[in-house]
Symmetry: D3
Subunit: 71 residues, 6 copies
Amino acid sequence: MTLLSARNVLKGTVKKIEHGVVNSEITIELAGGAEIVSIITKSSTERLGLKEGKKCSAVIKASNVMIATDL
Amino acid sequence: MTLLSARNVLKGTVKKIEHGVVNSEITIELAGGAEIVSIITKSSTERLGLKEGKKCSAVIKASNVMIATDL
Amino acid sequence: MTLLSARNVLKGTVKKIEHGVVNSEITIELAGGAEIVSIITKSSTERLGLKEGKKCSAVIKASNVMIATDL
Amino acid sequence: MTLLSARNVLKGTVKKIEHGVVNSEITIELAGGAEIVSIITKSSTERLGLKEGKKCSAVIKASNVMIATDL
Amino acid sequence: MTLLSARNVLKGTVKKIEHGVVNSEITIELAGGAEIVSIITKSSTERLGLKEGKKCSAVIKASNVMIATDL
Amino acid sequence: MTLLSARNVLKGTVKKIEHGVVNSEITIELAGGAEIVSIITKSSTERLGLKEGKKCSAVIKASNVMIATDL
């Protein structure tokens, strides 16, 4: 079983993929309905076989999560 | 109204705060129940007045969201 | 009033915008004359209504600021 | 002469250093008066010989600079 | 089989672990002898069961790799 | 002599360069044979004079190195 040091491994489903020239923008719907947008290279999108409806996880280091109040 | 260039501004509520010497670990419960952990400095925790139950947003740049399959 | 956990919120003015296919390169002139370059998506540039002369802030986490000597 | 791929290499002077157990918080005053806070390890602070008044540069990747309006 | 969007997944072996109060500093020896230092939380070090001699991978997004010449 | 606060300054040689519209993907071969991929802007690639065979260093903050087991 693979383990990652990143604290946030959020299970979800690919909701939408938009391809640019080099990058893809992937919208992931988490359990409960919140959505997270990820930008990865198009080659990684293909290597992972991402497509709408596929199960995946959003991986985010805790130190990359800022907090805002009253936004 | 304040606008941020970051693509992910996820509304939620502070669920838990744990203080280290310098940093705080903040667990945010998003609408729908998913949880995100953030690590910020303890001085920022105080400056923002974070405490359990307070409304806040998790702010994450799309390029800081990696994707994993089959984790 | 919106508060952010990031330590650096530097007030300035948009000095120059260059658009690529997906991203925009924004040059911000800080009070005092120092300049900071930011790369954000073109869609965020539009969403924030950035144009030359507009007031804005550069937001940078302290842990993303490296230090060099004798460069 | 050393060159770095990072777009922002901002010359300044160390204004203040605060040491934690593991990290140091370095305040750099840029030409013109703007200030940037950096968090690096205390061992790097020592390795670079940083102290108040020393010349140094703040190095920041353009993609780590977010933009906010009306903050 | 788990796949990650990060471009750099470098196989190696834990060479040294130093624990701070909150974080651990992990030195990984890559095949061929190059060494990479990682800082992760002590809780992640324990969760992954890291110890000297254990096989692991260093995971680094390509956009987090800067380049310097003549350093 | 230039010093950087980043913990990882890994000496190597440019093995391959692929240009996109805005960014370049640089493959660096480290001493011992491990390879690291970096994405920087094409303008930085030109500014640093990068080409196959050129000596350079990959610069990576320790906090940007995640760890995975059993990948």
